[in-house]
Amino acid sequence: MGHGGGGALSAELVEHLFLPAFGAAAADAGLGDSAVVGVAGGRLAFTTDSSVVRPMFFPGGTIGDLAVNGTVNDLAMVGAVPLVLSTAFILEEGTALADLGRIAGAMGAAALVAGVRLVTGDTKVVDRGSGDQVFITTAGIGVLADGVDLRPERSAPGDVVIVSGELGLHGVAVLSCRAGLEFGTSVASDTAPLHGLVAAMLATGADVHALRDPTRGGLAATLNEIAGAAGVGIELDERRIPVPAEVADACGLLGLDPLQVANEGKLVAMVPAVDADRVLEAMHRHPQGRGATVVGACVEGHPGTVVARTGLGGTRVVDLPLGEQLPRIC
């Protein structure tokens, strides 16, 4: 079960099971958010993502907008302009049509906001008990402009780490209404498409090295992946990481680390220090980047490891979450 949590166990499943089993057919597969495929006359980005979030409706969104925005953002993180999406539904027999209608409506609305078209799809129904109401898989295609090259491996010592806004909102919003854990909070999911923000960042002409959206596993998982892929160390300044008070409180209560909590409308950018100011300026002018801020930097030391300087001036290792986040007892 932990193999779907976006942490170390997920990565192992891909590296040790899927890629070896796929063999030569997956020889070109990378571990980025989207694959970049050369075609006559240009480059396409291609990605796919499945949504199984429970509950299906949560403050700020539904499984439907999440399915659209998740795939749009995977395309955006390689710098692509998203064009078209496919939608595939696995429905459990007995799922309320009203719920399905609400989810589909949210998908249409999200696609409209993102400026992508839903061009093909598929629906399967499984016996009651073989699924859990609604699972959605979306795949997406986008186009890349010449010269755009965003890859975690490009991160290098001297880069600064920028996050686009407040962290932890989606994860806390979903937890707040999960069965058995209902707690009152004003936190709503941040689910949103990010390609507009990415376009604004790239338009500055800055040599942005890498972008990732810190979804499952949060900022901790994303930065560990980048540090591992690029063979660099990353140092964070914990006081500069934007965690809203409501998120900090909920995490304190549940014993969760806000840095490991999921986001659905935020990005992390690895940018050479000389370009940081103009990228930040462009981000601040965009609705999805108003809260953008530098939270740390890439360093030569401790390659593959993410370290945070704490509010008190100590340091701690920011670990890759192993699997599902489990509330601590004490």
Partner: protein, 369 residues
């Protein structure tokens, strides 16, 4: 009040640190008893800010770490039964038994659920009268009152399909056991604040006296911990050995009388095995005679499940502060967070897992897990 921020104020922390630095004249080994304190120390990097003379030894107060393998195996046996809904706090799911963990039972079809309160498990029992609902009652005096309340309510409301698998442990006997060890290095304790908020402070002055050891009841936020350390160092430097309460905003001397009355009614003291340490006399609770009908161990007849610890796991010595995790031959080799031999490598606040994380900073190269 921005409670969490105020008790992590960097300026006040600096002032406490300055006072600790100013007062210390020689090496001292202080044990923080509770896993929550260990977590906070690591989380905020407090250990690196202390004078090098002050060594913090991570104590046995992590319920995940000390729950014996045998209890885990009993839980696994019960959870695998088709009629059972097995409820647990989340972080017990990954603790390895002798062959698998609760995640493994769940993926083989066992109905294992994470709940956030034993009362949620009780509600499940009411909603599923045709199933047996079992709650894994582990932890110290802190988690015990809610478990006691759940059993008490089940009894009062006649909810016969609810039972508790009890593996409760008690702090004061463990402190005594640590001090009795011939190779004990502990010179002062930061007592677990939340345990004392339930039980009060009355159990500790006799321990402080008998073992001539300072005991400071300490909270969990950075300033709480620094204040606890400051007072412990003060006592050590001035040759005192007293009970002090550095967490009065949560700990009245008498504790929580309502909770204590409930505990006296529902539980009775018993000998209890601690993972890696062994049996400590009078160090646990089991259900009292009146509530025996809700004892999952009897209901599912798992008392016969007996398990030995891995002989190569030295977590018991780690939990008592006798060795550092890195002195264990298996550490970082056969035993990593992915392949833990003992629970101290499982829990994020376990001493071995904490060492394993921070070690990567000192030894560049491939991280072991």
């Amino acid at each position: 009040m921005r409670y969490l921020e105020e008790f992590a104020d960097p300026d006040l922390a600096r002032r406490l640190l300055d006072r600790i630095h100013a007062s210390v004249t020689r090496p001292w080994a202080i044990m923080e008893v509770c896993g929550g304190q260990t977590h906070s120390i690591i989380r905020h990097g407090i250990d690196q800010l202390l004078p090098e003379e002050v060594e913090l030894i991570h104590g046995p107060g992590c319920p995940v770490c000390v729950t014996p393998l045998e209890s885990i195996d009993r839980a696994l046996a019960i959870a695998a039964r088709p009629e059972v809904i097995f409820c647990s706090f989340g972080d017990m799911l990954r603790v390895p038994g002798s062959r698998q963990d609760l995640f493994g039972v769940r993926s083989r079809g066992g109905d294992v659920r994470v709940v956030y309160s034993p009362l949620d498990a009780l509600a499940l029992a009411r909603a599923n009268p045709d199933r047996e609902v079992v709650f894994f009652g582990i932890g110290f005096e802190t988690t015990a009152p809610a478990n006691a309340l759940a059993v008490h309510q089940a009894d009062r409301l006649g909810i016969g399909n609810f039972s508790l698998l009890v593996s409760h442990v008690l702090v004061p006997p463990a402190l005594a056991a640590i001090m009795e060890s011939p190779s004990c290095r502990v010179q002062a304790f930061l007592a677990a604040g939340h345990v004392c908020s339930v039980m009060g402070t009355g159990e500790y002055p006799p321990l402080a006296e008998r073992y001539r050891v300072p005991i400071v009841v300490t909270g969990f936020e950075p300033l709480d911990i620094l204040e606890g350390i400051r007072r412990a160092v003060d006592q050590l430097e001035s040759g005192r050995h007293e009970l002090e309460n550095a967490y009065p905003r949560a700990v009245p001397a008498e504790g929580n009388p309502v909770a204590r009355a409930m505990l006296r009614d529902v539980f009775e003291v018993t000998d209890r095995a601690w993972r890696g340490i062994g049996v400590i006399p009078g160090s646990g609770w089991r259900l009292s005679g009146r509530y025996r009908a809700h004892d999952a161990e009897l209901r599912f007849d798992v008392a016969g499940v007996r398990t030995e610890e891995s002989p190569s796991c030295r977590s018991g010595e780690v939990l008592q502060g006798l060795i550092r995790p890195s002195e264990c031959e298996a550490f970082g080799r056969r035993c990593t967070p992915r392949t833990p031999l003992g629970a101290t490598m499982v829990s994020s606040e376990g001493a071995c897992a904490a060492y394993h994380r921070s070690r990567r900073l000192e030894a560049p190269g491939p991280a072991g897990g």
